[in-house]
Symmetry: C2
Subunit: 257 residues, 2 copies
């Protein structure tokens, strides 16, 4: 299994604090040492940093730690391989373009997808690597592309994602984070927690390192930041555990549905 | 205008030496300071590092310089903006998946593409940013996808790329590098040079910095490395200038056509 980290905000925010705890689970405080990745949306663009070295020791992780990229949507993933070898092609988050938007996806769990979900010749989105995760992502995008010629409104998009997720989730464990840079979709099968930080901001302390931040010093009163993770990242805040089969959508740092 | 750098090898090779000279043209020895990017294929996967800071001072460039990623196909680009603002969405190399392969593209020049090259509703590949470059890349991939349901043999692919390139090149200046991780296509409109390094290897000295490398110390006799750049990167080697309208294809560190 793997671990997921997501962030959705109403103002560009750096994820350095959360990432500091999260990255330690990749080989230091936990066993997810088969590569990792983090993707940042910045305006319409996005950049993805990947490495097959453990996030606790990766030079790329060191860069992300020291270069506070401000983003309104972030998805990160540390991998413990279940299907597919340790390689760049199998490293999450996966990325595709649909409707002139970048889409990012990361998965925690294990799927046994029937042949009907495979997409080979003639399919628009095909996996590059060999994971069940990338196959599920491609199938989902192929279905969305078939339903909508252009990007639909969020409510319509959410209905479609929810319906397609239910189909996939019947074939295994399917915790995931998905974003098009505007909305962040979070689906829980077994483990996913979230917190929405807003004014009045308080001090938070990481679970995985003795690091504390006083958010009131680095925010403005209107900031809203939603953080979603496989396991709570702090030990002095109240995280909400998502229910099995629950799909939540975050926009502008708040729950949209 | 911008500058391009490409590398195609028969064995995974790091590009640290060439990149050291190239990055200095992004704000230090030359004026291409509107962002930069570099993409590495590693086995079937690829990773792209982007920054809108000048490559001479970017923390991401510093990482690339200190983390010798070994790759058989690399494309790098430093930007002097002509069309489209300085932003991540407008930063080359651009990336898309076709036939279950990652494709990377970087462009030096300026195109004025008629409406018929635009791709909006219903098109498979659409640009995320606002550049002529990404539009040309998407049009090229849309045409390839329409012609071939699966990846064709290299000769057939090259014919198609050559034909489509000619169509695009009629609308402006179109120097580009394109790769699917196996072949590296290089098209010259105005400025593009290449060199193929093979045994017996010699010493090379950068044009943009007083840095020398003795390739015989870091290679094996069977290594072959093709390097393609807008301007020669070394001042003591013989680079071949490509002709206007010439499309070359490199595979395994040698000219394939």
């Amino acid at each position: 299994m793997c671990q997921l980290l997501g962030m959705n905000c109403n103002t560009p925010t750096d994820i350095v604090f959360s990432f500091e705890g999260f990255r330690r689970r990749g080989g230091l405080t936990d066993e997810h040492a088969d590569g990792w990745g983090i993707a940042f949306f910045e305006d319409d663009g996005c950049r993805v940093f990947l490495d097959y070295l453990p996030s606790a020791t990766s030079p790329v992780a060191e860069l992300v730690r020291n270069y506070p990229i401000k983003s309104r949507n972030v998805i990160a993933h540390i991998r413990k391989a279940t299907q597919g070898k340790v390689s760049l092609a199998n490293t999450h988050p996966f990325r595709r373009e649909l409707w002139g938007q970048d889409w990012l996806f990361a998965h925690n769990g294990n799927l046994s997808l029937p042949e009907s979900f495979a997409c080979t010749q003639g399919c628009r989105f095909q996996r590059v690597g060999t994971t069940d995760s990338e196959q599920a992502f491609c199938w989902l995008l192929n279905q969305l592309a078939a339903r909508f010629a252009r990007a639909p409104e969020l409510a319509e998009l959410t209905d479609a994602v929810r319906e397609l997720t239910a189909e996939l989730a019947g074939h295994g464990t399917f915790n995931f984070l998905l974003s098009n840079g505007k909305a962040l979709f979070a689906h829980c099968a077994t483990n996913l927690y979230y917190i929405v930080r807003k004014a009045p901001f308080n001090t938070a302390h990481l679970s995985d390192a003795d690091v504390t931040v006083d958010f009131s010093q680095v925010t403005t009163p209107n900031d809203r930041v939603a953080v979603i993770a496989t396991q709570p990242l702090t030990d002095n805040e109240q995280w909400t555990r998502m229910g099995a089969g629950e799909l939540l959508v975050f926009t502008e740092g708040r729950l949209a549905s």
